[in-house]
């Protein structure tokens, strides 16, 4: 039984990583940049919901919608102001560093506005837990919602990118921006759209993260952001199903190492497994291992 229950815990944790990783990988796949500020957008999203519900007494649904809207706008504005000017810079590390700057900016803005004190997140998702095996195994409502959300978002994103016109434009932009322009694709609009979707997803991720682990500070997004980045790489960065699988696996490995090896070095073990996987499969589980044509 304990194995099953660890597995369940792993999946609950992993689904959180997965939902963050989806946004990460989406932005990476199209805009070809590691958006280090993604985790902080998640934090912003969570603060918006918390403030709307507790201070403005909004209904949870309205608060979530408001949060998605604010994050979407924030994502688009950040891209336009901080990332777009560097799109043609001679090194793509430049924009990585700016993203780090944006991350600091969001954290410190939140610190000024909301203060440093940790706040408990209010229950917004009121889905009852699922009891299995006569109550021996309880799956929390948040977990169920998160997993469902992951699947819906993954399928939705995949369909969107592969089947719709803006999706195809995104693919083209991700490969060759100039050539995409020559096809009539508005590159700026396409990348803005990517950030809009990615940041909207961040708001959802913020909601789910803080519902599962109800604490919130200006730094809440940073560590999950890094973990999700790891998850995305694990699954093959840029791959949408990869992000989901990578996230879940990461969660499961983390819980198993805590359970069977040591909780103090669980992170070390997770990272060691990641390294081994990448050595065997250098572009992640679902990454395309494209050989350069010589």
């Amino acid at each position: 039984m304990s194995f099953i229950s660890y597995l369940k815990d792993g999946i609950s944790l992993g689904s959180i990583y997965a939902i963050i990783a989806l946004g990460y990988t989406m932005v990476y796949g199209i805009a070809k940049m590691l958006n280090f500020a993604h985790g902080d957008v998640i934090m912003v999203g969570a603060f918006v919901i918390l403030t709307a519900v507790t201070k403005a007494s909004m209904s949870p649904i309205l608060a979530i919608i408001l949060s998605v809207v604010i994050c979407t706008v924030a994502g688009v504005v950040i891209e336009a102001v901080a990332y777009r000017p560097l799109r043609k810079a001679s090194s793509n590390l430049a924009v990585l560093i700016t993203a780090i700057g944006v991350s600091y900016l969001l954290q410190n803005l939140a610190l000024l506005i909301f203060g440093a004190d940790a706040k408990s997140f209010v229950p917004v998702i009121n889905v009852p837990s699922l009891e299995l095996f006569g109550g021996q195994l309880t799956i929390k409502g948040v977990t169920i919602v998160t997993i469902l959300a992951c699947i819906v978002i993954m399928v939705g994103l995949q369909l969107f990118v592969k089947k719709t016109k803006p999706g195809r434009a995104m693919q083209a932009v991700s490969e060759d921006r100039d050539a995409a322009q020559l096809m009539g694709v508005n590159v700026n609009a396409t990348i803005s759209l990517t950030f809009a979707i990615g940041s909207g997803l961040a708001a959802i991720a913020g909601l789910l993260l803080c519902s599962a682990y109800p604490t919130l500070t200006p730094y809440t997004g940073a560590m999950p952001g890094i973990k999700a980045f790891v998850a995305a790489v694990f699954g093959g960065i840029g791959s949408i199903p990869g992000a989901m699988v990578g996230g879940i696996l990461l969660g499961v490995i983390e819980i198993f190492s805590k359970a069977y090896i040591s909780s103090q070095v669980a992170d070390a073990i997770v990272f060691a497994v990641l390294i081994i996987v990448l050595l065997v499969k250098p572009s992640g589980l679902f990454g395309k291992n494209i050989q350069e044509k010589v």
Partner: protein
């Protein structure tokens, strides 16, 4: 005019992961200074709290903040807030600038010089006292721990507690850890603790982590006594925290914001008025006492603002041994090694407030 005031510096994490603790200290220092200025100041001179020196909990930045505050005329230091930073600054301040930390719990924090003092308990002291208390009161014989093994405070208290358990006949049946980078999911650790047959769970962590732990312990149906130390204080004031989760939690701490003695009520009100209704935590209370202890020592030593830092430091250090303080955190006296000799009080959370266990 500046010759007429004492300048006091505060160093602590004002931004970064530990910002809530640094801000608690800084806010309380300002409140205490205002009161002190109204009741005679330090030896008749006004005191001024300089802008807080932010160290983000990093020893290196703490030293930078220390130097900066000296440039700005700091004559005495109320800090630093965290242990690692305090060790680094302590080495710089040794025998030159009077250092009085409200909250750095590691033993080494004040060992570099004779001019360094502490308001709070040390890690070993809290760990040992906790084991002693649990054993004496017969709260449990089998205990479990869950602590942040990457944070110095938590791990210092934990190590002392585990070591003391052997002396007091307590059996540690589950010794679980987490890390600062991985401090949201405790499902596995709590599961193991639940299965270990422990009667009591010792949580030597700060309240923000403990709030999450209590939540998840509740979800897991973990039914055992919870015991914390001074870092637990503040848990009732976490915004939106469901206080019922903390029902029955015991803690050894010198201060509780829900205390009904006059001094506490007055301080809590003053703090709330100055900071959008926030409630002061342990750090704030200790800081408040630091300022009053400084006042007592300053009056005793008869220092004046035109003295050099070294002279102030020497005079204050000598006087520290003469004074006693009846502060928010209890009655205190100081020993030559700078430690504070005061008794922790045991509280239990009942109906959403701290109640004395005595």
């Amino acid at each position: 005019e500046s010759e007429e005031t004492f300048k006091i510096g505060v160093i602590g994490p004002m931004t970064g992961d530990y910002a809530q603790y640094g801000n608690g200290v800084y806010n309380a220092a300002k409140i205490a200074a205002d009161e002190i200025n109204a009741n005679g100041g330090f030896n008749g001179y006004q005191v001024e709290i300089l802008d807080a020196g932010d160290d983000q909990g990093d020893p290196e930045k703490a030293v930078n903040a220390y130097n900066d505050l000296l440039d700005k005329g700091m004559q005495m230091l109320c800090g630093t807030v965290t242990s690692g930073a305090c060790i680094a600054v302590g080495a710089e301040a040794a025998d030159s600038t009077f250092l009085f930390t409200p909250s750095a719990t590691a033993v080494d924090s004040i060992t570099a010089g004779d001019n360094e003092f502490r308001m709070c308990f040390t890690d070993p002291m809290q760990g040992t006292k906790s084991a002693e208390y649990i054993s004496e009161k017969g709260l449990a014989t089998k205990v479990a721990t869950l602590y942040d093994s990457m944070a110095d405070y938590n791990s210092g208290v934990h190590d002392a507690f585990v070591a003391a358990c052997a002396d007091y006949g307590l059996e540690v049946v589950a010794d679980e850890a987490y890390t600062t980078d991985n401090n949201t999911d405790f499902s596995v650790q709590l599961g193991k603790i639940k299965d270990s047959g422990a009667e009591l769970l010792f949580l030597p962590n700060y309240y923000s982590d403990n709030a999450l732990i209590l939540q998840q312990a509740h979800d897991l149906g973990l039914d055992m006594k919870i015991f914390g130390v001074d870092g637990m204080d503040g848990i009732l004031n976490v915004e939106n925290f469901d206080k019922s989760l903390a029902e029955g939690v015991m803690l050894l701490t010198p201060f509780s914001a829900t205390g009904d003695d006059e001094a506490t009520v007055k301080f809590v009100k003053a703090y709330g008025d100055a900071n959008n209704g926030e409630t002061p935590n342990q750090f704030a209370a200790d800081t408040y006492d630091v300022l009053y202890a400084m006042q007592a020592a300053a009056n005793d030593a008869g220092i004046t603002p035109d003295m050099s830092n070294e002279d102030i430091s020497a005079a204050m250090s000598a006087s520290m041994l003469n004074i006693t303080l009846d502060g928010l955190t209890g009655e205190a006296k100081w020993t030559e090694d700078g430690e504070c000799d005061k008794a922790p009080k045991a509280y239990v959370i009942k109906d959403g407030v701290y109640a004395s266990m005595e």
